[in-house]
């Protein structure tokens, strides 16, 4: 079994976990979970991390409450794009780069699933 060690609440926890084909499997507090983490191409390229940059995905299943942007709008990194709600908490999804809104995949009131694409951004190129 593959695992990672993570400090949590003053203790080091050994958590069974592995990544395969864009999915992260882990076992935490009695339950096995699987979350989509993109295609998993490793660091060093433009498509770093668990997903492509500029692709904003739902971090949890929940409901979209507000959409702050429209297609074509220019946004700066950190700009609040969409607000969603889950477990009585509000989450604000922010732009992860400077760019233009290429696609808004949701409308207010819509239920979204984990990993669903919420907004796509085109990265601003040739910026002075």
């Amino acid at each position: 079994m593959n695992w990672v060690e993570i400090p949590y609440h003053g203790k080091i926890w050994r958590i069974p976990a592995l990544k395969s084909q864009g999915r992260l499997w882990f076992h935490w507090q009695g339950e096995t979970h699987v979350v989509e983490v993109g295609n998993g191409s490793r660091r060093g390229g433009a498509d770093q991390g668990r997903s492509h940059r500029g692709v904003i995905q739902a971090p949890m299943p929940g409901k979209v409450t507000k959409v702050h942007v429209t297609v074509g709008e220019r946004v700066a990194k950190g700009k609040a794009l969409v607000v969603m709600e889950a477990m009585k908490m509000e989450y604000t999804l922010e732009a992860d780069l400077d760019g233009t809104i290429a696609e808004v995949g949701v409308t207010p009131g819509q239920q979204v699933s984990l990993g669903q694409v919420i907004v796509r951004l085109d990265e601003e190129t040739g910026k002075a």
Partner: protein, 495 residues
């Protein structure tokens, strides 16, 4: 009964966890094994464990695991003395039992005549009535015309069940709620019976709508004695598929237990029954009714083994070799055992099968915990066969302790690569009706007909996911470049 002879080699005409179970029993008894498998089943635990393997055909069951000639041929060419059919597939096929015997090998199971008698639901029911056993009111006559069947429906009363006369499980089974839908459902049952079993013959039966599924394990030894190994309860079922089984049943008092055991024992003894068998009953309002007899080892046999202190698979092999069993004259149950069937399915999408490669698995060993597993990491769960990939069985002093142990064991069980029904099993084990032992065969459809809601992660858990993902080598938090690489770029606030 064959002359006593020690088996040198046993062929296993099955797959998955039961094949592993049988191979292990043989290994412990010093018997070699040959696995009769389909072309896709070379990446399985049973394949690796067996001394030899023989491919009996292509992946689809009818081409391999249900192919009588290929299985007999495979066993013969490997020089097997006997064939164990496991459960499902050819285990209750009279022709297979005969073919194995005619080829000069021993069929590890009941006689072909036993299989014939109990395999046909109508002749089984007649046999039960002959010995004065309780049966469910119904119609099982020769006249299969629609007008006659409709008339019988009205006589028996609604709701009622229309079943294929041949075959087991839930195939070709319809619940008819009223006279308006009767004709249509009977015709549909006849069509399904014809295509599944080659005979369109159906029978009608009163539907007991708050019944419990209680079954009795019996075992006929080589000397003609039928042992009664008490009961199991398997009321937690989905579409007539058992999900959780336990021994003994929490629903029987001593009188009922003795009575149901006596009926089951008589039934088997009068039929000259040999080997492992299970007599299934429905229990409703303190009355029980014979449902059917399964002439084979059951999936849930481990719960009986744990409370009775026996090994049913070894007993099957001993009996087939003409050897006596060293079992006590009178059995006494000890503690309580529960089995959960692990299915490769998505509990958040109504149990649709989940296929794929098993990436990793962890079985949390401990006292009173038993795991029957048919795969190892790297093996593929395909859609060709039953999605049951493993069984978790626990034993403890009492039922409530066994429930607690099962919950804890499942909590610590890890399977990566395919989704499993473990979250669903946990919900069932925590359900008041189950904990109180009051569940009926309608328990599942009443309380669990909707898919489970997928888990939602708290902010702390989302941080944890990022940390895990980061540790696994892909930057999701702060990369060397200092840029936030998280696609889940978000902040949170209390509403």
């Amino acid at each position: 009964m064959a002359r006593p002879r020690k088996f040198e080699k046993v062929a296993i005409a099955n797959r998955g966890e039961v094949a592993v179970r049988i191979i292990r029993a043989c290994q412990e008894m010093g018997i070699e094994t040959v696995l009769l498998h389909s072309s896709v089943d070379t990446q399985t635990a049973a394949y690796r464990l067996a001394d030899e393997a023989y491919c009996v055909g292509e992946a689809p069951s009818h081409a391999s695991y249900l192919n009588i000639q290929a299985n007999v041929q495979g066993a013969l060419s490997a020089g097997a003395d006997a064939v164990h059919p496991g459960f499902g597939f050819l285990s209750e096929n009279r022709e297979f039992a005969e073919a194995v015997t005619q080829a000069g090998m021993v069929f590890i199971g009941p006689t072909a005549e036993n299989i014939r008698l109990f395999g046909d639901k109508i002749s089984a029911k007649e046999h039960v009535e002959k010995i004065g056993g309780p049966t469910i009111p119904g119609y099982q006559g020769e006249d299969q015309s629609i007008p006659r069947l409709l008339k019988e429906c009205d006589r028996i009363g609604y709701p009622l069940i229309c079943k294929a006369a041949a075959g087991g499980g839930g195939r070709g089974l319809k619940v008819i709620k009223n006279s308006f839908e009767a004709e249509e459902l009977i015709k549909s049952a006849q069509r399904e019976a014809m295509s599944a079993f080659g005979s369109g013959s159906v029978f009608l039966e009163k539907y007991l709508d708050h019944a419990k599924h209680i079954e009795v394990q019996i075992f006929g030894d080589h000397g003609g004695k039928v042992h009664v190994l008490f009961d199991r309860e398997c009321s937690v079922q989905r579409r007539h598929q058992k999900i959780i089984e336990e021994a003994l049943s929490p629903s029987l008092d001593e009188d009922l237990r003795q009575a149901i055991g006596r009926i089951a024992g008589d039934l088997a003894e009068r039929a000259g029954y040999v080997g492992a068998g299970t007599v299934e009953f429905l229990l409703q309002d303190e009355r029980f009714y014979f449902m059917e007899m399964n002439t084979r080892l059951q999936v849930e046999h481990p719960v009986t083994e744990l409370v009775m202190g026996v090994d049913l698979v070894k007993a099957q092999i001993m009996t087939a070799m003409g050897q006596p069993l060293s079992w006590p004259k009178e059995f006494k149950a000890r503690g309580h055992a529960i089995e959960c069937r692990i299915y490769a399915e998505d509990p958040y999408r109504g149990g649709i099968p989940s296929t794929g490669k098993i990436l990793a698995a962890h079985w949390p060993q401990g006292p009173g915990r038993r795991f029957e597993v048919g795969f190892e990491p790297g093996d593929e769960v395909t859609s060709y066969y039953d999605p049951m990939i493993a069984k978790v069985i626990v034993w403890d002093e009492s039922r409530i302790r066994a429930i607690q142990k099962m919950k804890r064991t499942l909590s610590d069980t890890v399977i990566f690569g395919v989704r499993t029904n473990i979250p669903l099993l946990q919900s069932i084990l925590s359900h008041e009706e189950f904990v109180l032992g009051e569940m009926t065969t309608r328990f599942f459809e009443t309380h669990f007909s909707k898919p489970l809601s997928p888990p939602e992660f708290s902010p702390t858990e989302l941080k944890l996911i990022q940390a895990i993902s980061g540790k696994l080598g892909e930057p999701v938090d702060r990369d060397a470049g200092g840029e936030d690489q998280s696609p889940w770029s978000f902040t949170w606030s209390r509403r």
